[in-house]
Amino acid sequence: MTDSATTVGGRPSGGGRRLSWSWLGALPFFVYVGLFLLLPTLVVVFGAFVDPSGRPTTANLSALGEDFVVTSFKNSVLLSAESGIIGALLGAVVAYAIATGRPEGGLRRTFVAASGMLAQSGGVTLAFAFISTIGAEGFITVLLRGTGLDVSPTLLFGLSGLTIVYAYFQIPLMVLVFLPALDGIRPQWREATESLGGTSWHYWRHVAVPILTPPFLGALLLLFANAFSAYATAAALISQGSIIAPLQIRVALTSETIAGQENVGKAIALGMILVVGVVMALYTLLERRSARWLKK
């Protein structure tokens, strides 16, 4: 790598001056991400420990212990876990249905492309889509009216409603993440099981499931972090109130009622960074473990 880099330079590899010129080429990138990615992150991390006039304090962190904040975090974890588990289970089933089709088929290509789009579909449009479906005057709500299966008009504004809406982008994300793991399963393993006299049940119980468990758990963690970070859909659905942590940040950012509490938002944001950070670290560990078996 380094060898060819020095040849490309067209000059024999020289001393420090050459090196500093090379670094200059990457400078715009680092200045940019420094200003608009790393600086904001540091603002959150350090801002959580200072008061509005810049003096160090732990008052913001103690706000994390207040009931309404604790409840919003609890709800966020619950929502992320529920939508994660539902998304992972259903997504794995859909991924299996796709993986068992023709590898170059149009069906597979369509489903994968659609999953790529739907996994990113969270936002105002998704909120509108579900209001039009199971909102107070939604299509399904109207359809089921008077059949005894009535959709509650407040369904969409609670945790269970959010879980259904989140499944809409969690399932496709699972398909995208889990499909490579399913593709890594070799048909020879099934044949080997059969030639040893094993049944389908033996194959799943002793071969497929043990191999697929680490990637499944990894994908589950990714889905958890995905739902935990999501803001736009919930914000568009629930214009008032703050049942989950991201919406709590909205309250902290937009309300000007509580003077001296400007940095509470940063404390909640820091809390979110910590949760997502831990989950993603676990995800990386699991990824490494599953890569051992499922290398292409």
């Binding site: 880099a5 067209g10 080429g25 990615l37 992150t41 603002v43 859909v94 249905a97 796709i98 399932i171």
Partner: protein, 295 residues
Amino acid sequence: MSQTTPYPAASAGSLAVLSGDVAARSPRGLRAARNRRLQLFRVVVLLLASAFFLVPFLAMVEFSTRGTGVDAPRTLDAWRRIVTYPNLISAIVTSLELSVLTSVASLALMVPTMIWVRLRLPRINRLVEFVCLLPLTIPAIVLVVGLVPVYAWVNYLSPGPLKGSSLVLTFAYIVLVLPYVYRSLDAGLRAIDVQTLAEAARSLGAGWPTVMFRVVGPNMSAAILNSAVLCVALVMGEFTVASLLNYVNLQYELNNLGQADAGVSVAVAVAFQLFVVALLVGLSFIGRRRGSKEA
């Protein structure tokens, strides 16, 4: 399972027989039956999934064509009313401008950087990758909290006509699209032999700008197009940063309008979704044509 196999012992999973005639215990009929069940399972699952993902979209179409009143006929009134909201139109224009600015600026930043890092600074390749993928881990809502003071400065420093203009969102959007731009450019760079191309060009006397923009760049045009299209799709759909920093864009206006005129806002949401689908279908079309040409 045991009904289809003439060898119940095998289906019961008896490991008693591990001799050479095992193949005979897994007759073709068994496999065919399993195949039929698998095909049935696939059809059911994929149909159910399609229904779950299509119904909310169709419900939007249904909602946006409802007439007022109980048994009113279907109408396109809501769609016609779109043009009567000048704020909405200008928000759409703003979002289109933002997506162009973000695509161009992020490519201008990332294409030279990534080529340069590959050729001259391969040691920091992993670092650049880590930084670029960071926005996937840091939630946008968290980034916004830290962007508030940064944007106070952006607003303070920006020249008169740009003060308060939504176009300054470009700075934040470049960060939000970074992982996607990185991934597609990375895939493009992996597909070509950058080292050899650059070496050949250099030995023919080309300077670095020529290497970047006339040699390596054109060889990864598919990846560049790919990342530009992703930028447009992401920026047109962005809500979190705009709404919390209080800059008007399409999604911000759409959300506001949702309370005043649900019909129109749902109609625009349908149009937006169709726009995204068209973008991605177009992209896959281009990708396939290129693929077949190379093959």
